[in-house]
């Protein structure tokens, strides 16, 4: 390993690559398209080639991380899982579903889904992937004893059974988007014994085999020689390191000790560019930062107050200052530009103190005092974002009292406990998934405790609607309702910002559904 560490650093102070700032800022407008920035120009898109060690330094990873796919909760665990495992279905870089362990899938009525399981795929242990393994893997997330974070996906599932090389999943109501749920990163296919998987095992059917794993420190994996995808998994070896300190992460990349880092502080992006030792990738996706209000509690139970708060925030300024321009303004819309039915034509909400005052008067108020609870655990820069919000809201006669909460225990004691706080969403590939998780009546993470009759009615209808146009119309109406009657202020969509060494090449299009190419950088990228 010292060999890697002592590798001469490539610092070329005079060979400055073209400045990409302008290009980056245009990225938001491109919408769904993932964007790769041509730092090394031609080389980046050359044919993939096999070989090399891919060293990834991530600002996540705890000593408490384990192997259980149901408990994956941070980027480290997500990338580590993407290296070991396959799911039934993959989300391609353009957002379309493509077959993975499920060779094909179909449903006549949206209620009974048949997935045909690919033959000839083997686990790292050599065992062949069977229908029983797949069922055991899904059942790990289902049932009363399940501790999985995606247990709720399986609430509508009444039965999962084998039928030859197929598995048949029966739902209690039609859901045209069910296959999308099956692409979730928690649903790793693992070998089953007596109908159960061993969640402490590393065995999977993914591109890399675990050599060693020290939680919170590093994981080393070697290429799976029997990987069934011929055109994926190009590296001989992958090393994933937890580097929690952002300066340490940046140093590791600049001194050539790692090839990819995530979570770059916006303030340092310009300096990193100037050094010319890295390619910066800024991928606009569905991820967004939010300020949910408790819609049951006064004053937030009055939609006029909520609208006043929505017009009292300067979204442009926040994208510039909090995201360093690496993001886009959101119109209080949890559905992002990478979604199929994104409603781009809604009336935009600009910072308008007069309009905010107007809505306050409608609510019968001259001024408003609210407390906003923030911590950087909600999202990086949340405290600063709160301060900016308080500043602009004051001009509209709204006095936001900023309460700084500790990061530790934030999700227990603040989120969904305090009436007005900060939070984030990774975004979802499917509209139904996003709405069902965060906005449906009684959903576990409906963090604004919001109930809207028409919205809930549309949600059920749209789920089983087969006509594309009607479906689009319904989802547009729902976005309109959430934006203008919902109880969540959504000022911005944050880009996924990452940086690679000049030795790493990526496909032309990088997936926007999750960070790091949908966590699949390990199997999609290669050494330039």
């Amino acid at each position: 390993m010292t060999r890697d560490l002592r590798k001469p650093t490539i610092i070329r102070p005079f060979a400055r690559p073209m400045t990409r700032r302008t290009l980056l800022q245009g990225a938001g407008a491109l919408g769904a398209a993932g964007l790769i920035l041509p730092g090394t120009m031609g080389a980046a898109h050359a044919e993939p080639r096999r070989g090399g060690t891919f060293r990834i330094g991530l600002g996540h990873g705890n000593t408490t991380d384990g192997y259980d796919p149901g408990l994956i909760d941070n980027l480290y665990a997500q990338v580590f899982a993407a290296a070991r495992h396959n799911q039934l279905i993959e989300v391609a870089a353009d957002g379309q579903l493509i077959p993975e362990i499920a060779e094909s899938w179909e449903s006549a009525d949206g209620k009974t889904w048949v997935f045909r399981i690919r033959e000839g795929v083997s686990f790292h242990s050599g065992k062949t992937v069977t229908v029983e393994d797949v069922i055991a893997s899904l059942n790990h997330h289902r049932g009363d004893d399940a501790t999985s974070a995606v247990k709720l996906f399986f609430n509508p599932v009444t039965e999962i059974r084998a039928d030859g090389q197929n598995i048949v999943v029966t739902l209690d109501a039609p859901n045209g988007d069910f296959p999308y749920l099956m692409s979730d990163y928690h649903l790793a296919i693992m070998p089953g014994t007596d109908g159960r998987i061993d969640p402490t095992s590393t065995d999977g059917c993914g591109p890399y085999i675990v050599e060693s794993f020290e939680p919170g420190v590093q994981a080393s994996l070697n290429r799976n020689p029997n990987y069934w995808k011929a055109d994926r998994g190009h590296f001989d070896r992958v090393e994933i390191l937890a580097i929690l300190d952002s300066a340490a992460r940046l140093n590791a990349l600049m001194t050539g000790q790692v090839d990819l880092i995530d979570q770059i502080d916006p303030a340092t992006i310009g300096m990193l560019e100037a050094r010319g030792v890295a390619n910066i990738l800024s991928i606009p996706g569905n991820a967004h930062y939010v300020f949910p209000m408790d819609s049951r509690a006064a004053p937030f139970n009055d939609n006029n107050v909520r609208l006043a708060l929505k017009y009292a925030i300067d979204r442009e300024d926040m994208v510039e200052k909090i995201l360093g321009g690496h993001g886009a303004v959101s119109n209080d819309n949890p559905i992002g530009p990478a979604n199929r039915y994104f409603h781009a034509e809604m009336e935009p909400k600009t910072f308008d103190p007069d309009r905010a005052k107007y809505y306050l008067r409608q609510a019968g108020l001259d001024s408003l005092d609210v407390s906003l609870h923030v911590a950087d655990a909600a999202f990086s820069g949340a405290v600063d974002a709160g301060a900016l919000y308080a500043e602009t809201a004051r001009q509209a006669g709204i006095n936001i009292n900023l309460v700084r909460e500790p990061n530790d225990g934030y999700w227990d004691n603040v989120w969904m406990q305090k009436p007005f706080c900060a939070s984030y969403w990774g975004g979802r590939a499917v509209e139904d998934h996003m709405f069902t998780t965060g906005y449906a009546s009684g959903a576990a993470w409906n963090d604004s405790f919001w109930e809207h009759e028409r919205f809930n009615e549309l949600l059920l209808k749209a789920r089983s609607e087969v006509n594309e146009d009607l479906r689009r119309e319904m989802y547009h109406e729902m976005q309109q309702i959430v934006s203008f009657e919902g109880a969540v202020v959504i000022p911005m969509n944050n880009n996924y910002v990452m940086a690679t060494g000049l030795n790493i090449a990526t496909p032309e299009r990088i997936s926007a559904n999750w960070n790091l190419d949908g966590f699949r950088c390990v199997e999609r990228w290669w050494m330039a």
Partner: protein, 317 residues
């Protein structure tokens, strides 16, 4: 010698009692923290059902005294159990990291202690000289900067220019020479942080003795100043120096989490912080006991060594 043995045994017994109290306090304190492992593990993904299911699986639904008792009986049999969070044996998780932490502590001590003693003795010898002032000011400056600042400066000077790695990647297969090379920057950071304390104590203790009549006697005999300091002053100044060295060693074992984070060093501090954040009580307890043991043992060693250097204490019992 019997007295010394008795003292050691007495101190060890007290040490065990201390450890017990520490474990109760730590357990109580972690109980007071809001939230528990189940909800921390699930994070934003926690729903009441999944939290309840996980709590049942982990045995967190049992009352606190029962959990403490289960843990204590296990620990007494040398079984720290498995981490509640990732179900790995705690002894495995800690063993490698304890080794790393001790390696870094000894490395830093091997640099800092001789440096501090030499500087301290020379400063005492050339009291109020330019050397005295410069070394004092330098050491105080180093200790006054926050650790992470010292660390970043070293990274800027020594890592970005390619001399040393900014990140420590120690694995079981690393050779000793590799480890020395890779861990140089964190060790140097810690050296800068702890040297001042030991150096000033050495200087003060020796200067204090230099006013004694027996030193004056030695001087009148015509001995060289270096010989006076080394042969006559230093042996009598050893007790306070040993104490301050022991305290600094304990600090190097228990208090270096910031340096661990900056250099991505896989030591115990980071494990402790993660485990507290996740409420993984079993791991927190085990590490707290290791830290407490480090203090108890180092203080005991310091006392024993200080007694050995003092013939009056030795002959009394």
């Amino acid at each position: 010698m019997g007295a010394l043995l008795r003292m050691i045994l007495q101190r060890l017994a007290l040490g065990v009692l201390t450890l017990f109290v520490v474990s109760v306090v730590i357990f109580g304190a972690t109980e007071l923290l809001p939230g528990d492992l189940a909800s921390s593990l699930l994070g934003q993904a926690a729903t009441p059902e999944t939290v309840a299911a996980l709590r049942r699986q982990l045995g967190l639904d049992l009352p606190a005294p029962v959990r403490y008792w289960n843990w204590l009986t296990g620990a007494l049999q040398g079984d720290f159990g498995v981490s509640l969070a990732n179900r790995r044996p705690i002894s495995d998780m800690i063993a490698a990291r304890l080794g790393n932490t001790i390696f870094l502590a000894l490395y830093a001590a091997a640099l800092a202690v001789p440096l501090a003693l030499v500087l301290g003795i020379l400063a005492a010898l050339w009291r109020n000289s330019v050397f005295d002032r410069v070394s004092n000011a330098g050491a105080l400056t180093a200790i006054s900067f926050p650790e992470f600042f010292v660390a970043y400066i070293l990274v800027l000077w020594l890592a970005q220019s390619g001399y040393f790695p900014s990140m420590v990647r120690i694995s079981p297969v690393s050779t000793f020479a590799d480890k020395i090379y890779m861990a140089f920057l964190p060790a140097l950071t810690l050296t800068l942080v702890v040297t001042a304390h030991m150096m000033r104590m050495t200087r003060a203790a020796i200067i204090n003795l230099m006013a004694q009549p027996y030193i004056e006697m030695a001087r009148l005999k015509g001995l060289s100043p270096l010989r006076i300091v080394l042969r006559h002053a230093l042996p009598n100044a050893l007790a306070p120096i040993i104490n301050v060295v022991a305290l600094n060693l304990a600090y190097l074992i228990t208090g270096v989490v910031v340096v661990e984070v900056v250099f991505v060093y896989p030591g115990l501090g980071q494990l402790m912080v993660d485990s507290v954040a996740k409420r993984d009580i079993a791991v927190v307890q085990a590490i707290a006991l290791i830290f407490a043991s480090a203090y108890v043992l180092l203080n005991l060693t310091a006392d024993v060594l200080a007694t050995l250097t003092n013939p009056r204490l030795m002959s009394k019992g």
